[in-house]
Amino acid sequence: MARNVPEWLAPTTLEEALDLRARYGDEVTVVAGGTFIGILMSQRIMMPTVFLALRNIRELAFIVGNLFDRTTAGGLPLRIGAMTTHRAVERSAIIRQHWPILAYTFSLVASPRVRNQATVGGVLADADHASDPPALLHALDARAIARSVGGQREIPVEELITGYYETSLRPNELLVEVRIPPGVERAVYRKFRSRSSEDRPCVAVAAVQTNGKLRVVVGAVAERPQYFPDICSLANSQQLSRELAAEIGCRYAESIHPISDARGSAEYRRRVIAVEVRRALEDFLSDRLSEANRESGVGGLYTVEED
C-alpha cells in the first residue's frame, strides 16, 4: 500500500528559508525545535505533507545582550534568535546575570528534554495558552521580529498571539528573533499548578516594571495572555502597597473569563487569579523577588553570544 511520503526541506540560509516560505505559504509546516509538531503528529492531530526545518540556519540561533546598565531607557534591547533553545536561555551567562527573570521562566517549562529541543521562536509561534514564556515576554513588552521576502516587521508579543494556537504571522513570514527592551526594574513570574509538580499551570502571572510602568500579564487562563493596562496604571500614579496589590488582583479576576479544564473550573481560576496577582505584586514589595533583577552595576563591552 503506497503512502505519500512527506517532503523534508532543510535550508541552510534564512534567505533560502524565506523563499520556500513564500512559495509554499501555509502548505508548509515550519519545524523549529519540533516538540509541538512532534506531539501533534504523534497524536495524529496533524499529518504534514511538507516540512520546512530551520535547524540548519545557524544565523537564527544567538543571544545578544548589553552589559551596560540595562536599566537605562534608550539602551539596547536583548536580542534572542528564534532558534535559540529554552535550555540555551536557561544557561546563558548573559541572561542569567542581566535578565534572570528570563532564565528562570524558561527553566520552568516542561522538562529538560523539552527545553533541549523547544525554541524561543517556536514557543511564540505555537501560541499554546499554557506555555510560560509568552506571558512573561508580553509583560516585558517584547517584540517578535517577523521576516518575509518582502521585508521585516516588528510585532509586539501583545499583538502576536491572537487565539488558541493562532498568531498574526502571515503565511509568508518566519519569526526570526525576539527583542526585549531595556529598562526593566523589577520582574516576577509565578506559576501556580493545581495538581502535580509536573502539571501545566492552572494560573500563571508575570509582573514586570519597566521604566516605572507596571505590566501584569496572566497566562494559562484564557486563549491569550491577559493584560489590562487600565488596571495596571493604578500602580503608575500611586505607591505600590499591599492594599493596591490586592485591588489589582481583584480587578484582574473580575476582568478575566477563564477556561475550565482538568486543572480547575473557571470559578476556581478566578479566585486563584486574584490571589496570585496580589502575591506577584507583594513579591515586588519584598526583598525576596523570584530571581528578579539585582542592580548589576557591571559595565562592559557589547557582547555577542552564539548558541
Partner: protein, 157 residues
Amino acid sequence: MQIHFKVNGVPAEVEASPDEMLLEVLRRDLVLRSVRATCGVGICGACTALVNGEPISTCIFLAPLAEGCEIITAEGLGGDHPVQRAFEEEYAFQCGYCTPGMILTIIALLEENPSPSDEEIKVTLGGNLCRCGCYLKIINAAKRAAAAYSSGTAPTR
C-alpha cells in the same frame, strides 16, 4: 530519506520517512529496545536518548532532526557505568521500564553538575515518570552516582 547519525559510537545510516520519529527508527532499524513507546506526548521520559549529550524525547523527535547527531541509549553505556552501578546498589527500579530514561537523564545532569542538590535532582527528574514509585531510591541512586562524579571516577564523553 536517508538519515545519518552515530548511535552508541557507531555510525548509522537509515532509510526513514520524514514524518517518522527517532523512537521508531531506533527500535525498528537499530533494534535498540531500551527506548520505549509509552505516552506519545514527550511527558514520561521512557523514550529518552541522549542526543549530542542532551536528553531528548525520541517519541516526538522527528527522525530527520537526528541528522549528524551523536546518540546514546542505555545499550551504549557498557552495563557498568557509575550511574548504572548506583541504580543496582540502591535498588532504584522495579519493573525497569522507565529505568534507562532515568539513568540517561541523571548522566546528563551529573556531567553538567557533578554535585546537584536534592532539589536539583528532583526538578531534573520531574520529566521522568515512574509509576512503580521508585523516586526515593532513584534520588538516592543519583546522589550515590554524584559521589562518583565528584571524585572524578566517572567516565567522560
